[in-house]
Symmetry: C2
Subunit: 223 residues, 2 copies
């Protein structure tokens, strides 16, 4: 797969004021009409599978670029670049999250002026990524059924910063003790405004609702 | 459940040299014959279920105490204290990991001299907890089948610091694209010495191997 995607070693930000950096990045993205989505989750919740399916569904309608952030490995950038969209692998050098300046370094690798939808697949972690504004226009997270319906109680900040929560792997609901109504209640306790969309990235169930939300947000941002 | 377990707000360590703090704590634990196990995993991999079953199996043989570390909530300490062992809930105040001094604060809440096996259920996170020596005698982690067999490639440090890897939720193997041999290979790439034990904490499958390992280690430590 050599040559199909870049690998960037992103450096920890030197800026103390990450919130200001994030606001500046968002302003620039607004001017350039680039919608940046920050996608977060635990390890193994299905971020890459959901993203793969989303790209397949939307790549003829939208110019998409993807930043795959990982401590190490290039597994995900290989997968994504195989779909024919721009991809860049960000190595965080052990860092557990991305901040706005690291995200900016990543966007430079995507030549961002040329994409309408830039997706940052953040490090798999429900704790630290929630603490850093990346400059994204919207935050999305994936909670998968096997992780349990109590996660909004245990990782409150993550749920409170997300605009949309995708509940993935609904195909295995019969095999897990997961109560969808209870999960919605737990999310609402942390964030009454969050949009909750049950999906199965593997089978495609529920994905249309997610695409509709995403397309609408990208369109609003470019107006 | 009031009064059944303490809640400690553990403070971030003031010690720059965590490794030295951890070594000192381990020495003290050796003198007191307290075996400290640091149990790590992603959110939702089944740490609390595995721990519950372990306690039920071993509580007549060993005096057990449990520290439940969470950003927030007391869900797990409630569960554990209901089993009739000492439990303390540690609130990390947003911190994504425990260091040796925070662990020491937690042990003080357990009145550690009175337990033979102290378990630290670390914050659900495959990144940051791996970077901090807690002073534990052994590190264990749980990887669950729904998370995928590629996780050792993506979270290398976590796998390299663990003495034992429990692969949980083997009952759902038929529903996931998870290759146990591939997973063992990926773990061996990171840590050829790690003991790998497939388990199902829900049904009890494979748990005897884990109990045997744990009892042997506790016994060796107290010699």
């Amino acid at each position: 797969m050599e040559g199909k995607y870049k690998v960037l070693e992103v450096k920890q930000s030197v800026f103390a004021d990450n919130d200001r950096q994030a606001e500046e990045l968002r302003k620039e993205l607004k001017q350039k009409k680039v919608f940046l989505l920050n996608l977060m989750s635990s390890p193994g919740s299905g971020k890459t599978t959901a993203l793969t399916r989303t790209i397949e569904a939307l790549k003829d309608e939208l110019r998409i670029g993807v930043m795959e952030a990982d401590i190490d490995s290039e597994v995900d950038a290989e997968t994504i670049s195989g779909l024919g969209v721009k991809a860049v692998q960000l190595h965080t050098g052990g860092m557990c999250h991305l901040d706005a300046d690291m995200t900016r370094q990543g966007l430079s690798g995507l030549e961002d002026g040329d994409v309408e939808l830039a997706v940052l697949e953040n490090v798999g972690n429900l704790v630290c990524p929630a603490e850093f504004d990346t400059g994204a226009v919207k935050n999305a997270m994936i909670l998968s059924v096997p992780e349990g319906d109590d996660k909004p109680l245990k990782y409150p900040l993550m749920f409170s910063v997300c605009d949309v929560v995708l509940i993935n792997k609904t195909d295995v609901l019969p095999y897990f003790d997961f109560d969808m109504d209870k999960c919605r209640e737990n999310i609402a306790l942390r964030n009454p405004d969050a949009k909750v969309i049950p999906i199965c990235a593997r089978t495609g169930e529920g994905m249309e609702d997610w695409y509709a939300w995403l397309k609408e947000e990208v369109k609003k941002w470019a107006e």
